[in-house]
Amino acid sequence: MARKRKPIGYYLSSGWLYLCIFMSVFGGLLPLPKWDDNDFEYTGAGLFTPGHILGTDYDGADLLSQIIHGTRNSIVIAFVSVAAAMLIGGILGITAAYRRGWVDSIVTMYFNVTLSIPTLVLVLVMVAVFSSPDPFDPSGGMPRVLVLILSLTFVIIPVLGRLARSSALSWTGRDFVLVAESMGMKKRSILMTHIVPNVVPSMMSVGFLAAGVVIVVEGGLSILGVGTNPGESWGSILAKNRGEISLIPHTTLIPALAIALTVMSLNYFGDYFREKIDGREARI
């Protein structure tokens, strides 16, 4: 079969995501003003001001440097919490599907209980649980990024876990698994050679979507004042400048655009991989 050319969206999305990854690793080395340096000659400068391509915020901090600095936290929070949730949720879901019985009942009940609280509400509660003892002094206690990662992981475990369970269930009934069982293959090796490799791709495609959701939720938490420290992620740059939207709208809208582009790219990949998987399944 001739290799089909990839659609343009594929290149745009991967280009943007690679750029984000590059910025979160090497962003600090670029010859730009420091993200938290206040240039008081240019406060609230507009786009394309000399020395500040994306302008500055009301403190005179360079917006481009802030966006680049914020990339790291936004990407790290999304990646780490989704990866952790995928691992924990995957193990729980696949074990439940393969062991059945009381293990399955307990795991499913845990998923259902957690999923019966809307994501954003549960995240808000979890963030409060992990936060510093004094609600009026958010700097005490664990680092904010860690608080967010732990809370978001907890909230998406059941989403990915339930998916892993249903996907694993659909594979355990397939002919090749029955054949392997009847040939006397051990349960554990059936699990590792036949079930897990088939469950992982569909989890990956949902993982991309989940990463997009995490970035949006993180932005929402920042707007509600419980995100990362001011200016340390896209969401909190946006939240910090929101009050100035009538005077310097770009300081709010550009971080919002960065979030939107990233979510769009992640969703694109999620859809792209799902279609690939569906196509593969249709051929089996």
């Binding site: 009940m109 609600p135 206690g141 979510v263 769009m264």
Partner: protein, 328 residues
């Protein structure tokens, strides 16, 4: 044959009900555990300048001197009797009942939910059917791509862009604040336009995509070929034969989206300063109002679970095939 089916159906509904009640108990108890895990001393946060005696009295009132089970059951006893606890404050003489604050904030959120669902369905149903009918044409491809983009933009980003464009640049609408219907329907609608658009654009995109996919697969069914070979008009076939069987996923998704807005609209409520239920909840969490958090999250979870149950029942009613598939 028929009778056994009814028996198994009743049994299925009963099993679901029992499961639901178990989930309700576990959810509310889970919230209790989380609330008790909140760091810091809640009474000193609630009464910053209280004397030790006052603090002890409040601790006893909140039930914090009891263990987690006693605490849970005393809260539950009050909760089922409609006593959702007190929202403590230093200004209003000891505090306000949570229920009266719910009465103040919930209607706004419910209206927001209602408008958003209505607007989303009003746009996505015709659009979804149209795109399915014209599947793979240039129109379908263009609109589908636009919808994909829209569904990826976070609602607060749309909200902030609207607040700037309509609220500041064109100066058409007031970007913050809620105006109740009693102060004039026109003003009320004006205060809700931007929040509703912010929440709707994404759901319109999602709903349209769902309906489009389902409609395309319905259009391949034999009864559609049959109907068109009878010479029925395309419009008649689309609305009378195709829409209903294609609308299941859409309706499920609409109901669940609606349910999640009870607490999930909080960011938009905050962007437009609507002071709705979500913001009340977020504020309670921020300032550690134990009883309020407990009761509000429980209410949200109960609403969410009931919505799911209604969807399940509705699902079986609207499409008999689902019953048979599930029975098999």
């Amino acid at each position: 044959m028929h009778e056994t089916m009814t028996v198994s159906k009743v049994r299925g509904i009963l099993t679901n009900l029992v499961k639901m009640i178990v989930v309700l108990f576990l959810v509310t108890f889970g919230i209790t555990v989380l609330v008790r895990l909140l760091p810091g001393d809640p009474v000193s946060t609630l009464l910053p300048f209280g004397s030790p005696e006052q603090l002890d009295a409040l601790r006893a009132e909140l039930g914090l001197d009891k263990n987690v089970f006693q605490y849970y059951f005393s809260w539950l006893g009050d909760f089922v009797r409609g006593d959702f606890g007190t929202y403590y404050s230093t200004t209003a003489d000891g505090g306000t009942p949570v229920s009266s604050m719910i009465a103040q904030t919930l209607p706004r959120t419910l209206l927001l939910m209602l408008y958003t669902t209505f607007v989303s369905l009003a746009f996505s149903i015709p659009l979804g059917i149209l795109l399915a009918y014209r599947a793979q044409t240039r129109l379908d491809k263009t609109v589908s791509n636009v919808l994909f983009g829209l569904s990826s933009i976070p609602n607060f980003a749309i909200g902030l862009a609207l607040a700037y464009l309509l609220g500041v640049k064109l100066d058409l609408l007031n970007p913050v604040g809620y105006i109740p219907i009693s102060e004039g329907l026109g003003e009320h609608i004006k205060s809700m336009i931007m929040p509703v658009i912010s929440l709707s654009l994404g759901t319109i995109a999602t709903f349209t995509r769902l309906l489009r996919v389902d409609t395309i697969s319905t259009l391949k069914e034999d009864f559609v070929t049959m109907a068109s070979s009878k010479g029925l008009s395309n419009r008649w076939i689309l609305w009378r034969h195709v829409f209903r069987p294609s609308s299941l996923t859409l309706l499920t998704s609409a109901a669940l989206t609606m349910a999640s807005l009870i607490g999930g609209a909080v960011v938009i409520e905050s962007v437009f300063a609507l002071n709705g239920f979500g913001m009340f909840l977020a504020m309670s969490i921020a300032v550690r109002q134990y009883l309020a958090i407990q009761s509000l999250v429980a209410l949200v979870a109960i609403a969410f679970i009931l919505f799911n149950l209604i969807v399940d029942v509705f699902y079986a009613v609207i499409d008999p095939r689902v019953r048979n598939h599930r029975g098999a």
